[in-house]
Amino acid sequence: MNSQTTKVLSLLVGAILIATLPFWAGDQYQLHLAALIAVYWILIAGLNLVVGFTGQLSIGHVGLLSIGSYTFAILAGKMGVDPTLSVFVSGLLGGLCGLALGLPSLRLPGFYFAMATMAFSMIVNEIVLAQVDLTGGGIGLPGPMFPKPFDSPIGFYYLVTAIALFVTWLTWNIARRMWGRAFISIRDNPVAAQAVGVPVFKAKLLAFVFSGITAGVSGAVFASLQSYITPDTFVFELSMFFFVCIIIGGRGSIIGPFLGTVVLTALPELVSPLAKLGNFFYGLLLLVVVLVVPEGIGRMFEIISERLRPRIVHREPITPDLNRLAKALKGHE
């Protein structure tokens, strides 16, 4: 079985598992957990382009999530706008805020950019707290439900899973083609990226705005899942969590961060002492991964398997096929 069929097969198995989850999930709490994973993945899939592929360290995406949540709660809740429309507006506003944050900060070196994103999430929290009559300040706002088919837990699970799969499909399309290569070139070798003509700043901005849109949409459905949002819901710990899922899952891949998200969401709920540790656990996990296997746990399986049965890399001499080269060069004109 060559790699192509095993790839399709495992994706099929995964899809079936996800599609039938409501029927074999133990109870509604685990369904809630699965929906929470899907909601987080909508944001993390977009953020993966920024952190995993383009290598820009954004630790402030909880700010964009809260913008999405509050936009949705205000539109669909207080102003009674149709929820589906509100999700689009939340995504749009998330994208706009991503643009507003990205424009000044994406030109800055790594540490400056990280600090700017951290500051952004603090500012969002401050503004939400201060604008009491719009956002309810400390009291917060109820997160409205979606209409008929999606108001039941199972219906809502399918809605967020559908959105999550769509966003995954989008990021997969980008990652496997020219834009994906351009992003990775920005991450691993900006000088080479310039040399082949990649517009470094514009590409970083596009990835960031895309992650803003997904964060906005994720925020909208997060508000509905939580049924109530207050400023305390959007803590710095969430930014750390999103970001650690990607680093642990493995940068430059999509399945790695997805597995990171599943494990890191499920783990604290199942292993209760971990919940108390909260940030300490994420910090420890991140430090271990960065020091031991910076490529992420996803790649660790490969590293171990390579070490168990090292493939002998036989060196063949380079033998140019000159007329094939000439034909290829001529082929372009």
């Binding site: 399309n173 083609r177 990775i184 310039q194 040399a195 380079i318 000159l322 080269l325 034909k327 060069l329």
Partner: protein, 255 residues
Amino acid sequence: MSVMPAELQAINISKQFGGLSALDQVSLTLRPGEVHGLIGPNGSGKTTLLNLLSGYYQPTSGSIKLGDEDLSLASVQRRAAVGVARTFQKPRLLPMLSVLENATLGAWSHSESGFVASAVSLPSVAREDKKFLDQTTELLHGVGLGHVIHRRANLLDHAEQRFLEIARGLAMRPSFILLDEPAGGLTTQEIEHLSQVIHTLRSSGIGVLLVEHHTDFVFRISDRVTTLNVGKMIKHGASDEVRTDPEVIRVYLGA
């Protein structure tokens, strides 16, 4: 090709870093379909000139022209778009990607698929990507890397990395390719393959700038050679003319 192909010209280029003058009034013309050697001892300004031509530095005075377009202040990306490719002394590759992916990145300037089009995977995007991958596969076989196409770049040896960077440059469908000490660290047999590849480039109309301090290799395959010393041009002319020039010999054999 109806129109006379444009030349890449550096005209009276000077470059100062603070007080230090790295280049002083140097001119050099790179014609399509010609191999132009650029030699000189270390610190003579070879790499600085190459960085000026490829846009990583801006000249302090003088200008760089491609045909009639003035590139002196153009960005690196702009030069890539008008067909000026380059390699680096220390190959700059993407370790986590395969050889094929690394080389295909070169075709970036020719890709018309926008971000959104790629996201929703329009048929045009898929077609274009397939075309690029096929072309790059041909180029890779052409330069002799056919056997490692799917290998991850960080598993390549030194020579393979050099040829991969050349393949990436060729994927940019360049009119000119600036090679920064390509022969460094290669075996004689690999240098032989390199010169065959360079000859093929020349015959297909690409202008090659060869920055090297392997002087015999340069003289053997260059049509014309320019010699630099301490930022000044001391000799320019046909390959064997420059080889026998007393001034060049003095600089190389040391006073």
